[in-house]
Point group: C2
């Protein structure tokens, strides 16, 4: 079935030709002039010997490994990393590349991060994907400069590395738009307390969308808590206790929305009858399994992984210029995933 220890010279010997010829035939070298008979002979012999090229040797000679390094943070703690990996893997395979993955911790030291990149460099990967587990600004390892590189879900503080991030503000706009379209006018936002791009951008999108709809975005109720279930619960309790209680809630993420569900249940508010809720992140385990299903905004992790990989490969193959792209991070859409948590406001 497979290679093993048969090399190109075994094929050459068995076919009665030189290794050069075998190489030319198997690689379809354009300038090689070889008779059809010889070609067939070589191919069939290679096939039946189960010859498979030794990519190491190829790489050594051609200075191309066909491998992409992916350093990802906290692979196991969120499903996000998995989606990035999947997007990257599929895009890579489609173009004949493979992925070498290295896991790093969100709070790893700069030295350890450099060591991670170094390991990839020693293996002579053709390019590096550097992914964080949530959208943020990072200081890239200094040795990342050696090969083409793309940041996924992160932007470099120096701004000198090509990056792809989600359109946080656009996602927030879509979420609020969803509530607006259902007829809500009293809309609140359960925000995160961390000072990260998502916090700021989603808030901006929230207010702007309301304002553009003729409401007073600046005065719209916002409650902030740590972005976990408990925080969502507490923020929801507070926001729902306000006079002129909101009928629609936009939540920073699905976990906070989960907390809001509980708060609503405790207050005897039914979703979506009395209260409409929109989340963010589309963590399937939560969003799809809550009752009713949570309408939320999806983060394009798969797409970011794929986009980064495609452009990285383009750069490697000289079809694109990462330097140019590094000027502005590329922003990818956050589409709304409609489930059952939004309805018209109560009369």
């Amino acid at each position: 079935m497979s290679n093993k220890n048969v090399g190109i010279k075994d094929v050459a010997f068995a076919a009665g030709v030189s290794v050069t010829t075998v190489s030319h035939v198997l690689n379809d070298v354009s300038y090689a002039r070889i008779s059809p008979e010889t070609r067939d002979k070589v191919k069939s012999v290679a096939e039946q010997l189960g010859y498979g090229p030794n990519r190491l040797a190829q790489a050594l000679r051609t200075q191309r490994t066909g491998m992409l390094g992916l350093v990802s943070e906290d692979i196991a703690t969120t499903p996000h990393a998995g989606r990035i990996i999947l997007g990257a893997d599929e895009a890579a395979r489609a173009r004949g590349y493979n992925l070498m993955i290295i896991n790093t911790s969100g709070n790893a030291s700069p030295e350890s991060r450099e060591a991670d990149v170094e390991a990839l460099l020693e293996r002579r990967v053709d390019g590096i994907l550097y992914a964080t587990m949530y959208h943020r600004h990072i200081q890239v390892p200094s040795n990342l400069g050696g090969v083409p590189a793309v940041l996924v879900d992160a932007v470099s503080t120096g701004g000198s590395v090509t990056a792809v991030v989600p359109d946080e503000e656009g996602g927030a706009r879509a979420a609020v738009g969803c509530l607006l379209a259902a007829g809500h006018t009293r809309i609140g936002f359960l925000n995160n307390t961390d000072d990260v791009p998502a916090t700021r951008d989603r808030l901006r999108g929230f207010r702007a969308t309301l304002t553009e709809a003729g409401l007073d975005g600046g005065a719209a109720p916002v409650e902030s808590e740590p972005s976990e279930v408990q925080g969502g619960y507490e923020a929801a309790r507070r926001i729902l206790a306000r006079p002129g209680r909101p009928t629609g809630l936009f939540c920073y993420n699905d976990r906070m929305a989960m907390g809001a569900y509980r708060a609503a249940a405790e207050l005897g508010l039914s979703i979506p009858g009395d209260l409409s809720v929109v989340g963010f992140d589309d963590q399937e385990l939560i969003a799809a399994n809550l009752h009713p299903g949570l309408t939320t905004v999806a983060l394009p992790h798969y797409e970011m992984g794929a986009w980064a990989t495609q452009n990285l490969i383009d750069a490697i193959e000289g079809k694109a210029d990462l330097g140019l792209m590094a000027l502005r991070p590329t922003v990818l859409d956050c589409p709304v995933v409609v489930r059952d948590s939004v309805a018209a406001p109560p009369l």
Copy 2:
């Protein structure tokens, strides 16, 4: 900071010695007799040139890549794959190896699976980890035989490949034991309908533990549904409607437990006051975020990944014999993770 294109011969030239000497010094070759001065010279030159070995060339020469292939199913759909990857990555790095990851679909064709393994083989990985996304019996790709291999969360139908799987029955015993210890005597099981090892083994553990506790395990109530939230809900509705309603529920997984929570809420049963619930899988997103927190049984994905990797490396390095280990799959513990969903039964 780093290598790039500086090779061993650049170091040799700069240090005024031969490449052999550099190689010997840098690899601490035991039988090489080289003066301390020369050693220092070489090391410092290498350091300041930012020399890093070319692992490709090393691998070509030594026939050892220091890379492990990991083919995993559906990386993005469950967090499980992430934990396996993490366990494998950490174990691999601890021993100087790196991981090449290939994603495959749970329902990929045998040909495509062989192609995945083939890709790994072409890159001359030293060994292969083959992981599935849930415990099951599989037909391993026929070309897997070429290198040392270990199955993770799966056993080969032929039984000829070393494998590591969770102790399903033990986990079920622990879960039921937990309920028993809290004083429950009327305990029900919400089982899965799929015919997989987990379904059978957990049921066996459930009944056996009850019987051993002096209860009638054979007659204990069991309701089966697809292992999703909705299935859990329905099975719970049925089991809670039975005469002599159970006060403790063991659920096939956390998703079904989530459904049970809803059923309980609808019936006005409070958890854990009126009903105690134990899940399985420890999907943090669910288990930790449900209210009250779900006591559940953890699947040792991280541990399986690490175990598989350590033993694979041992085999590669000749310190272990996979053939021997293949006789019986290794079974790893499923520990109970205690949260707040179990209490004494109502009076």
